[in-house]
């Protein structure tokens, strides 16, 4: 729709993406020639689950959420993607359908690469299959990480881990600006907003202060240790009894 140009800055981001980095310059040029720069406002859909894959996207700015609608109507967030991330390149190349839906959750600038473009390129420059595999490999890892996380960590631990990944430092104190709304963070971490609130509260006991969108961490290393802890059963009150005695 809009006449937008790819500037030098964007070009860097594009070339750094795993799926482009292994390609020769002219292959990239060819793809960029067919691609379109899009501005998509928040709350718009890039594509819906089960549609035939017609294009893949590279995020230049903003945030995009990948999710599935479950039978019961609520959504399962599969990932949230930012600048430099590539979305749906696999179904595009294999000629399949999108396995998830994609929604813009913060006004985004995107590079949309049409599927037919890749199909051609594949014949012209055969190495591209391998290049994409590198990209896919990353996605696989992330999904496996997510499964491990869901199976083995509690809500507060997942949140702690999320914060550690966002943190600019490896140890010592720091402050973190939450990248998007808590509603979405909750989805990303596989819990309800109420549970997220409580998870934040719990983290106060390991030196985390919350103020709207900014988080102050006393010691990142301590937070990281908490995230990896073996299913926190801390906070046990010794002589505590519940309800009425039996009999």
């Amino acid at each position: 729709m809009s006449e937008l140009r790819i500037d030098r800055h964007d070009r860097e981001a594009i070339c750094a993406a795993p799926m482009f980095s292994a390609l020769p310059q002219e292959a990239i040029d060819s793809l960029l020639g067919q691609s379109e720069l899009q501005l998509q406002p928040r709350r718009t859909m890039l594509f819906e689950q089960d549609e035939p894959a017609s294009a893949f996207y590279l995020v230049l700015d903003g945030w995009v959420k990948l999710f599935r609608m479950t039978v019961s109507g609520d959504e399962a967030v599969v990932g949230v993607f930012a600048r430099g991330d590539c979305i749906a390149e696999v179904p595009c190349l294999t000629g399949g359908h999108y396995p998830v839906s994609a929604e813009v959750v913060a006004d985004a600038r995107l590079l949309a690469v049409p599927a037919r473009g890749i199909a051609e390129l594949t014949r012209a420059s055969p190495g591209i299959g391998l290049a994409m595999l590198a990209s896919t490999s990353l996605h696989l890892r992330k999904l496996v990480d997510q499964i491990e996380e869901l199976k083995a960590r509690t809500g507060p631990q997942r949140l702690a881990n999320f914060l550690v990944e966002l943190a600019p430092v490896k140890q010592g104190p720091c402050t973190i600006a939450l990248p998007y709304e808590k509603l979405l963070i909750a989805g990303r971490l596989g819990m309800k907003p109420e549970s997220l609130s409580r998870a934040f509260q719990r983290l106060q006991s390991v030196g985390v202060r919350i103020n709207h969108n900014t988080i102050a961490v006393g010691d990142i290393a301590r937070l990281a240790e908490f995230a990896g802890r073996e299913r926190l059963m801390a906070f046990r009150c010794p002589g505590f009894r519940v309800g009425c005695a039996p009999g």
Copy 2:
């Protein structure tokens, strides 16, 4: 170790695997020539997480479990693979490390394809990158399915779904033989053996009878419907009270 031959029957299974099906006959021959047929008994490891990927495996018989050890020492099962399934082809091709560990959980016959073999083949027959992408695409889908399942379904629902996938029919009654031990099924479904036991009990109310390793289902369609239900809060007894009255 053993001098085993690939018979016609195995060849069929190999050619049907997504990552081989798109390859020309001579490419397959070349790979098979370098590969080794292995017999691996139960409880042996194929590879460990973080080892450099030296070979990938195609399962011809038996069952192989992929998992991760968590910091706390218990394992998160990422998948359980059977005849026709391909394991670890991606890290092999991209020259990375295994992202998970693999253990044989039922005596297995495996085709082990060395990594260097693929590297060569990649240069000789450039389409192979795409072929593998097809295979990878499947893995991605399965992982996404698993994440959705963990996030949106209860234990009994996951079990119901597991049974439905095993069932030979789409509706009506049938009996199912559990493919491996309940201990492993529990892992695969992301719960403890105790919880699995209870999940089986719950399923009795939707027409499931359990007898050791064989499951009798009254109506598969009913079970499938239960699996997709919106977080079963069924089975509430109207006038039921627990424990002692308050005050």
